[in-house]
Symmetry: C3
């Protein structure tokens, strides 16, 4: 909860819409965390389809409500499918989410993410601060971020990171979600700073991928308030990370934690989401 | 249990044979639920091998007892491997199961499923009613199913769906397993109507894929009673869905449910299976 | 614990180094157990990256500390990436682990494993006795193992298997890890015989794959004592299999067991590892 906020997020409405409309989400994603992405989509009330062959990618997009593209185990074959699916989503007015996993870690990933941003209009780009900074350096006319800035979002650099996120949103036309210890969800005008989550979430593979998939579902079901839908998804994920942590027994480790997070999404009520949300608008 | 049945299923014999012969099952399946398929095969007493490269597909089939082909994340490269593996299974007299995931959702999936049915003789085809109807429309000389019929199997359309399943089995030569709220397992002469299962099973990705894998194991170990082996696998999966649901705590969601179902398969005794089976012969 | 040992393993040092240095491990591995490999790497304190496209394989290797190559779902495209990554690891002095899954089960797997051993210098080769015997028959000037020897490592053939493992290490230059009921970790001079583990570990898919991934992390963090690091990883995995088994409730099956093993790795303290280790040096 937070005091001085310019625009309340209607968590109940946003989550209920996901549950009621059960959006079908087309995922072209990595093979590491794909099962978790499918199960978290089901947990939040949506439905997953995974299809990455060029012969069906666009067609599958057309029967879905939203698209989630994740470059986690990038493969030059599926890049074509990503473009075809993305263009089809644009054509149909479906939201598309980009998760630029590992942008900056290899030239292929960076270039592919940038190329996708050039070919497809994304509604949301979600990554960690390093990935988003990499994309900001390479995309459009931005001159890149302050090279000396620490990559970690802290209270000290929060203001400048928010400004960066808003600027990135303006350049790309996408809502930007930078997730980490403090999450920032921004469009060109306003930003939500989110303090939900738990450090143990980084001990599981794929919490970011899962969030991107869930974000696609939240946005698809709430197209008239995309920024708030993204913020709600980020808050929901963080809150479920907190709830799952509380549930851990003395023998539970990261695998049980993984299961408990998705369980918590399955059990998440609109009231719990609203009550547990820890955010402010900047 | 059921009263008026024409042919009893010998659950103890069927399950014990799986456990005793530990059939090795070759799976060419999707990357979303492949881990769950491997673990449910182990849970029921069988062993999994996954191999989809054309250079080894037929060879791996030849060292296995049965084959499970699933088109969940279809890829034009692996289609060739599916054909090669299927033909080898036919040549060796090994049972082959087809899971036409998403037939009807894209042209590629529909055409691939139909093409596979033309190239390979399947012992079992398992899908939901929409998938099987799609295949029935496109395969052989069938004129397709009543387009106005609801896709959901209900008490009202049960009789006609059973007739459809028997007809589909006659056309294809395969045992047909149509799974949903009510499951139908039919050969050309008789059908098992199965009422095991729980609605929450649809909140997990891959219960269908898992069932197809387990069906391949049950059939491989029980070649002299294929229809009953398929029915036993479907009943076992549904019963484990019930057992797993009973086990759910207040914080458990779909991920724990997924784990509990496979756990229940691991713990399933022939006696429990026999006692919990809820089916009738039509 | 063991009495007459020539060289103690400093478990505390080895495990603490993994936790402190958090090695980044590049995995080119199968899509069946890849998620488990990622999560066990995180559980032991390391970080995973999966990347198998030829356009980035070597580059990703260069930003990592160690490499884990697993041929579980071999694909002729990724073989090139395995070679490129392996050569880069060699060039940079990074340790590389080979898990020859299914060597002997198909010509492709056997030949690929042997080819990789010719192109890349592996620090560790980890497999079951059949896989290692297959490689020994085909590699270099070895005349192969006694064809009549049982494949299972028992107290009776332990001495000859240890000799075989040492000889295989001498030929390949790699530390050999043969895992099964009794595990053997050998370099050309000495062997650790390890009796940790539990038979139920074979009821889960991928405990071997997970161990190979974790081995890469242990070795990367402990390059000055590679053989001991491999032995420590094998012991840690086996011990966690024991701990997880103790934790099983009456309804738990192989899926919960899978989760509990990785949980146990997450919770494993250096003290518990040292206390629970059951090995001898030969």
């Amino acid at each position: 909860m937070s005091g001085d906020i310019k625009k309340m997020i209607d968590f109940k409405l946003i989550l209920n819409r996901v549950r009621e409309t059960k959006p079908l989400i087309h995922n072209i994603t990595n093979y590491v965390t794909v099962n978790d992405c499918a199960n978290i989509l089901l947990a939040c009330g949506a439905s997953p389809i995974m299809a990455d062959d060029i012969e069906e990618a666009a067609e599958i997009t057309s029967i879905c409500g939203g698209l989630n593209i994740n470059i986690g185990t990038l493969n030059h074959n599926t890049v074509k499918s990503m473009i075809a699916a993305g263009k089809k989503a644009n054509e149909l007015g479906h939201p598309a989410v980009l998760d630029p996993v590992g942008a900056g870690a290899s030239r292929l990933r960076t270039e592919t993410a940038l190329m996708l941003m050039g070919e497809v209009e994304f509604s949301v780009i979600r990554g960690n601060i390093s990935e988003i900074k990499t994309l900001a350096s390479g995309f459009g006319n931005t001159k890149g971020v302050d090279a000396s800035a620490s990559d970690k979002v802290t209270e000290e650099n929060l203001e400048s990171t928010i400004a960066f996120a808003k600027q990135f949103s303006q350049k790309t036309g996408a809502v930007t979600a930078i997730t980490g210890a403090i999450d920032i969800v921004a469009d060109k005008e306003r930003a939500y700073c989110i303090r939900n989550g738990h450090p143990m979430m980084s001990s599981i593979t794929g919490t970011g991928c899962q969030l991107s998939a869930m974000t696609a579902a939240f946005v698809t079901a709430n197209m008239e308030c995309v920024t708030e839908a993204v913020a709600a998804a980020v808050i929901a994920m963080g809150l479920c990370g907190e709830k799952a942590f509380e549930r851990l027994g003395s023998l539970d480790g990261n695998m049980s934690y993984r299961n408990y997070i998705i369980d918590a999404v399955y059990r998440l009520s609109p009231e719990t989401l609203e009550r547990g949300a820890d955010y402010e608008v900047r």
